[in-house]
């Protein structure tokens, strides 16, 4: 697939940057257009792989933003993006849309810019183009607290109704101990980039001959066609590990023998589905599913693909399962990536919504009494002291 990718806010921009890094490292060519949009000037300096002229600061003339972010407030994020919509549209104009199959918008839903400006950007894209627009959204962890949960719960509604499919990433599921604030997201972002690029880059190997089982962009798009929230599973295996240093020599001759048997291929897919999904979900609640094997085509037997597909059909309890390969002849790993499209049983989303409702109630309570409390605090009981000016 060929993508136009747009990162909104800090998390969204970092994710796009990691996707670019991963595709460069693995010789893929997925992201044909890149753009990052932020309300904070400092955050725009973070990406390593996004060209300077593809970084857009919005809201720098907005009284509440002024290039310093939106203070985690989704409403301000949305307002700022709406105000600068002309500017955003102008940068989109550069995107030669006939070159791409779809547009991907990445954002952290807990932040003000991601949650607020994200949906505004998507609205605009949907208006301008016929191509599907997908969302890649990071959901905040429970420990981030009520405000991010509220941003995310509200923004999720906007995202899901506006995009053609929403691929979710749950920060909670990927939280790990022993990391610093600095490196914490790094690893997660890499993991997510690996999954999303491996999935979407399938069907984009120009020069090599297209294998018989090769997955096509239209298959991926068809699977995503369900709308709703989707989750991705991933597993990979090193191909030359057991043989050690000599593997490079041996590989060529032994290709036939080395080709993994069906059981191993199926095992890899089972591992992908049972591993940490981008958002934990009930696999059987998926509407459609898709498996892509990325690696040397000689490694992937047709029989293996078929048995993996049948297994997933059972697991996901749907007959809409596609499976195919993405030939990467030079790769020394074989990866299986599984897309579970429109999963409806995702406990984290329920939790975030509950946390958000609590948060919103607390905020309303405070708003209701705020002015009164300040006035009574600064005034003595009988209001005998008067202001000096």
């Amino acid at each position: 697939m060929k993508l136009a990718t747009i990162g909104v806010g800090n998390a969204g921009s970092k994710l796009i940057d990691r996707m670019l890094e991963f595709e460069q490292e693995t010789g893929r060519d997925l992201c044909r257009h890149v753009l990052v949009i932020n309300t904070a000037r400092t955050d725009l300096a973070k990406p390593d792989h996004v060209p300077e002229d593809r970084r857009v600061l919005i809201g720098d003339t907005h009284q509440k933003a002024k290039g310093h972010g939106v203070g985690g407030d989704g409403e301000v994020g949305a307002e700022v993006a709406k105000n600068d919509i002309d500017e955003i549209r102008r940068v989109f104009d550069d995107v030669e849309i006939h070159e791409v199959d779809a547009i991907l918008v990445a954002a952290g839903l807990g932040g003000g810019t991601g949650s607020g400006a994200g949906p505004v950007v998507i609205d605009e894209l949907q208006k301008m183009y016929d191509e599907p627009v997908y969302g890649l959204g990071v959901l905040p962890g429970e420990y981030e607290g009520g405000r991010p949960a509220l941003n995310a719960a509200r923004s999720l509604q906007s995202f899901v109704t506006k995009v053609d499919n929403f691929i979710a990433f749950d920060n909670d599921a990927w939280r790990s101990r022993g990391q610093t604030v600095e490196e914490g997201y790094e690893e997660m972002n890499r993991e997510l980039a690996t999954r999303i690029v491996t999935l979407l880059a399938a069907g984009e190997v120009d020069d090599s001959d297209v294998g018989e089982n090769a997955m096509d962009s239209s298959d991926i798009m068809r699977t995503l066609d369900t709308g709703g929230v989707s989750s991705i599973g991933y597993a990979s295996t090193d191909l030359d590990k057991p043989e050690g240093l000599l593997s490079k020599y041996k590989k060529k001759e032994d290709d036939e023998i080395n080709s993994m048997d069906a059981a191993k291929i199926k095992g890899l897919v089972r591992r992908a589905v049972n591993s940490r999904l981008t958002i934990p979900c009930e696999v059987s609640s998926a509407d459609r599913a898709l498996i892509i094997f990325a690696g040397p085509s000689s490694m992937i037997s047709r029989k293996g693909i078929e048995s993996a597909r049948e297994w997933l059909e059972q697991e996901a309890d749907t007959v809409e399962v596609l499976a195919g390969d993405d030939p990467r002849e030079d790769s020394d790993t074989l990866a299986a990536v599984v897309l579970l499209s429109n999963v409806t049983e995702t406990p984290r989303i329920k939790e975030i919504q509950n946390q958000a409702v609590d948060a919103q109630n607390k905020i309303k309570e405070l708003d209701a009494v705020r002015e009164e409390e300040i006035a009574s605090l600064i005034t003595d009981d009988d209001n005998e002291l008067d202001p000096i000016v």
Partner: protein, 492 residues
């Protein structure tokens, strides 16, 4: 966040001087030189070391009621009261008279370079309260910036008049400013080794610079969760009183051991040093900051919004500790409006946690202050009611710091006649006025406090949906494509 700082009176001037000192010591360019100090007492400028002469502005020096140093040559100690000598109304008057002077000085500050302005003053001082109030009005009318006030509260050992002045200052400043940071001198001086202000002023400066200066260091690494100026602004947006908590952990200075040195000499990889902290110690640090002596002691459960900044070497800042620390704050304060950020200081030798609590309302100190002020005002009223002409009676009771001014009021009556306030024979300390303000007028005054925050809870950012509807939009509509089910199974 870049701040323009305005020190008013002796306390304000000294604290701003300390702030500038902390700014240069910690290498966080907070003000970029946008600083002014206003005083009615030129001599107070003598002990400052970081404020340029042209930025030290003397106000009211030609006003007949203002005592000049030469008038006081014979006085000493408590009696030696220069300037407006503790009289806030005189402070207001001289500031109004000298507004052109004040405006001229304001030209030295570039408000387009800063994110907010902050007035620093002793609220119990005649200058701090009076000139401070006029300056606040002025800044509010010319700047499109949030304006904060850092105001020192008097201790119980200080005169009742100071308490009365401070209580009125609180009443005046809070509605006019975007947020007020009162400094609870009482609880700070009680535990200080000496009772001079240095230690307190340093503590104030440390807290303010850690909070407002976070991320301003030019060489700082880009942080993962940077505090933007708008994060601070949003936290303080609710108005009212704000307070700061602070805690730090010193890191051990580890000298390089033979093993590492050898590896380095041999050009081998030097293993990463183990961090000295972990999730638990970071969480504990946040806990300590929340439990620390706040700049204004209060019931933290009454806080409206909270902001947490963790500063230190990035490898010491455990993310889990950071997150649990933030969660702990949500638990302790009962608010969900908590923003948290980090400030990576790779060369730092300590980790600090700074917590801003905004719009705290459970503040016993303010209530005590008001009670004392009301009592003082009633006494004054009784005195002037029973014996309106006996000036000396009033001044005797109102402790020593008024005596100087009383003795100096030869021309005072004519002056106050020109004031908008009803003329008084009490040298501008007009307590009867208090009663002139009737309840309804004062109430509407109180309501005008609310001017700030009228933004209503809007529905979902980009469209009209509301979020309190907790049925999962995703679930209900995601299955939308009904035709999918009817499609033939796709066989590969």
């Amino acid at each position: 966040m870049k701040l323009a700082l305005f020190g008013v009176g002796n306390a304000g001037t000294r604290i701003v001087d300390q702030l500038l000192d902390a700014e240069s010591r910690t290498d966080r360019p907070l003000t970029d030189g946008n600083v002014l100090a206003f005083n009615t007492t030129p001599s107070a400028f003598a002990d400052t070391s970081h404020i340029d002469d042209e930025r030290q502005v003397v106000i009211g020096d030609i006003h007949p009621d203002v005592s000049r140093p030469e008038d006081l040559a014979d006085e000493s100690g408590e009696d030696r009261r220069e300037g407006v000598a503790g009289d806030p109304e005189l402070g207001v008057e001289v500031a109004r008279d000298d507004l052109p002077e004040i405006r001229r000085a304001l030209d030295l500050v570039d408000d387009t370079e800063v994110d907010a302005a902050m007035i620093v003053a002793g609220l119990g001082g005649g200058t701090g309260c009076g000139l401070g109030a006029v300056l606040l009005e002025e800044l509010a009318s010319i700047y499109e910036l949030p304006i904060y006030v850092l105001g020192v509260l008097p201790t119980s050992e200080e005169s009742d008049r100071r308490a009365w002045t401070a209580a009125r200052a609180v009443r005046t400043f809070v509605p006019l400013a975007d947020a007020v940071f009162p400094i609870d001198t009482e609880s700070w001086l009680a535990s200080a080794e000496s009772d001079d202000y240095d230690e307190l002023n340093r503590a104030i400066a440390t807290r303010l610079v850690s909070l407002f200066g976070a991320g301003e260091r030019e060489t700082a690494a880009i942080s993962e969760l940077r505090m933007d100026p708008n994060d601070l602004k949003r936290t303080l947006d609710v108005g009212g009183l704000a307070t700061i908590g602070y805690a730090e952990t010193e890191l051990e200075e580890v000298s390089e051991g033979w093993y590492r040195r050898l590896r380095r000499l041999l050009g081998l990889d030097v293993p990463e040093r183990e961090p000295q902290t972990d999730a638990v110690s970071i969480k504990n640090l946040v806990q300590r900051a929340a439990d620390s002596k706040l700049t204004l002691q209060c019931d933290i459960e009454t806080a409206d919004r909270v902001l947490l900044v963790l500063s230190g070497p990035p490898k010491e800042l455990s993310r889990k500790g950071f997150e649990t620390g933030r969660y702990l704050l949500e638990d302790k304060t009962g608010t969900v409006e908590i923003l948290a950020g980090d400030e990576p200081l790779p060369e730092g030798s300590r980790i600090t946690a700074t917590i801003l609590l905004s719009n705290v309302t459970g503040v016993p100190r303010i209530e005590t202050l008001q009670r004392r002020a009301v009592e003082f005002q009633r006494e004054q009223d009784d005195l002037s009611a029973s014996d309106p002409d006996d000036l000396s009676a009033a001044t005797t009771l109102s402790t020593s710091d008024t005596q100087r001014s009383a003795g100096n009021q030869s021309t005072g009556d004519d002056q106050s006649a020109g004031d908008e306030q009803p003329p008084s024979d009490d040298h501008g300390f007009d307590f009867q006025e208090a009663e002139l303000v009737d309840q309804s007028e004062a109430d509407s005054e109180g309501e005008s406090t609310s001017s700030e925050d009228e933004t209503e809870e809007e529905p979902t950012p980009a469209d009209g949906d509301t979020a309190d509807d907790d049925t999962a939009a995703t679930e209900s509509e995601s299955t939308g494509d009904g035709s999918a089910a009817e499609n033939e199974p796709q066989k590969q």
